[in-house]
């Protein structure tokens, strides 16, 4: 029943998103909406490994940037359409995720996080030295002028991102409620005990890291069409890593709703800050918000309110 309701809401959102460009003419809505949706995909994707599995990936920038540049590469190489760019990003993101999954074999905790952070620097350096995708100068990506049903390129990528957001949430929700979610919760708590209970911890971590990586890379893929210009510093920005971590933490990492709330909240604050005060202050505000939430609601907003609404639970 709950699944049915979820499915209906998801379909309604997609249908509404498809018609929105013909109702709302203000382009800013789609510019801002794209960012919010991208944050939702990143946040949800990150949470599958970080929240459910307990492996804090600090390399979200590497995944988003890789996705962005996979799109640039495919565009430059074969003038790939958007869906193929997204698919390509998913594949390389998934492979990078697998590599990160293997890292968990050797390193855990904060060391894992540092290693994933280093990944961003490595990939950034590779792109900076690769002329085919624009190197340090950046790449200009001009999307074809026709987008079928969609009047402008921004409304087109907005809808693509909406589809990705709905898909990633559906995937996260399914993982969370299935045997995979319970296996991840078990290995997050205690890998040895999980193994003894029959959980194939390595396989599960590899699969989860690949899914998480694919989603974050897919979030980066529509960016070249959206911005029509890409350069490595922005694509591999440390802000992605910070935000990917901050959003689930703000919302709560144990449920798919947490990263969603966190993403909407954070992008909302960022958008508000961008239009009212100089943009450099954005990051500072995000930092303060994160500190505030860690102090006030260490288990995220969901737990903060969940404690009151579910009397059966003991804090």
């Amino acid at each position: 029943m709950k699944d049915k309701r979820f499915l209906i809401v998801a379909v309604l959102i997609l249908v509404a998103g498809a018609f929105l460009p013909h109702v709302v003419k203000n382009a800013y809505v789609f510019y801002a909406g794209f960012v919010t949706l991208q944050y939702i995909v990143i946040s949800t994707g990150w949470n599958i490994l970080g929240g459910y599995g307990g492996y804090v990936n600090f390399g979200s920038g590497a995944f988003v940037g890789l996705g962005t540049y996979a799109a640039v590469f495919l565009f430059n190489a074969i003038a790939a359409p958007l869906w193929l760019q997204i698919l390509g990003a998913a594949v390389v993101g998934g492979l990078l995720g697998l590599a990160v999954g293997y890292l968990t074999l050797r390193i855990q905790g904060v060391y894992f996080s540092i290693a994933t952070l280093a990944l961003t620097v490595v990939l950034n350096t590779v792109i900076v030295n690769w002329p085919f995708v624009g190197a340090a100068r950046g790449a200009t990506v001009l999307a074809p002028p026709q987008h079928g049903w969609f009047p402008t390129i921004v409304t087109y990528v907005f809808f693509a991102m909406l589809v990705l957001a709905v898909l990633s949430i559906a995937l996260a929700r399914w993982i969370e409620r299935s045997w995979i979610g319970r296996g991840l919760a078990a290995l997050r708590a205690d890998e040895k005990a999980a193994e003894s209970a029959g959980v194939p911890t390595l396989k599960l971590k590899l699969a989860t890291a690949a899914i998480s990586g694919a989603l974050m890379a897919m979030a980066g893929a529509p960016y070249p069409y959206y911005a029509s210009y890409v350069e490595p510093t922005a694509a591999f920005s440390i802000t992605y890593a910070l935000n990917a971590l901050a959003m689930p933490l703000i919302g709560g990492t144990r449920s798919w709703v947490g990263p969603l709330i966190g993403a909407i909240l954070l992008s909302g604050i960022e958008q508000a800050a961008t239009v009212t005060i100089p943009s450099e202050v954005n990051l500072l505000i995000v930092g303060f918000v994160l500190i505030g939430f860690v102090v006030a609601a260490p288990d995220g907003l969901l737990r903060l309110f969940g404690r009151r609404s579910a009397p059966g639970r003991r804090a």
Binding site: R182, A186, A189, D190, A193, E195, A197, G198, G312, R314
Partner: protein, 241 residues
């Protein structure tokens, strides 16, 4: 007719210099109730870890139901029917008590109605009222019960109970023993590691005593209890005089 369910051959495990397990060879019959005693640090838990795959022994083989499982990771051994409880409870915090029990049901044995089976298991260990509580809210005692429920969940053919009774009251010890006896009646082989002597004496058909990584006595609880070597290491020097 007896059949060897578990055959341990010449297992060695070193942490640094001193071997924790030094050449243990042990056969366990199907349906047997085997007790393992020995002072702290005598290598009991290390041996169990080598059998269940939590640790890789430096040398030696483990055969379960005729198949060499020495190279299998812990989860594959669990799926073959070896379950264990941990000496120090290792709950899956962050999920509920019922979900804890469902993990082995998900991964080891594909039961038709995991919800009903979970309820049944929790009832068996007396945790049914705590089913929807987070695992981290349990008392130490309840955690031990959860540990047992989780080990029993996937209907193992070999259960290794590593000090499941430590810290329990006499009544609770009786309850756990009754559970283990009932399980054994259904054909489950049980290896029990315990410091509570009267419990392990009552439970075991056969008793093994370990000391500095070796088996120093193997026989009926009566004989092992009278063994002078066992009395010396287990009850202290003065007991043998």
């Amino acid at each position: 007719m007896t059949e060897t369910i578990l055959a341990v051959r010449d297992i060695w495990k070193r942490f640094g210099g001193q071997p924790a397990v030094a050449g243990v060879t042990l056969d366990v019959e199907r349906g047997e109730k085997l007790g393992i005693i020995g002072p702290n640090g005598s290598g009991k838990t290390t041996l169990i870890n080598c059998i269940t795959g939590v640790l890789k022994p430096d040398q030696g083989t483990v055969t379960f139901e005729g198949a060499d499982i020495s190279a299998l990771p812990a989860y594959r051994r669990a799926r073959r029917g070896i379950a264990r409880s941990f000496q120090i409870p290792r709950p899956f915090v962050g999920i509920t008590v019922a979900q804890n029990v469902m993990v082995p049901l998900d991964y080891v044995d594909d039961v038709d109605n995991p919800v009903a089976r979970t309820r049944e298991l929790l009832k068996l260990v007396g945790l049914e009222s705590r089913a929807d509580h987070p695992a981290e809210s349990l008392t130490h005692l309840e955690l031990r019960k959860l540990e047992l429920a989780r080990a029993l969940a996937a209907e193992p053919r070999l259960l290794i109970a590593d000090e499941v009774m430590a810290g329990l009251s006499e009544t609770e010890i009786d309850e756990v023993l009754a559970t283990l006896f009932a399980l054994n009646d259904r054909g489950v082989t049980v290896i029990m590691i315990e410091h509570i002597m009267h419990a392990i004496m009552r439970f075991s058909q056969r008793l093994v005593c370990m000391e500095t990584g070796r088996i120093i006595a193997d026989g009926t609880p009566h004989d092992v209890g009278k063994d002078p070597e066992v009395r010396r290491v287990y009850f202290g020097e003065q007991a043998s005089h």
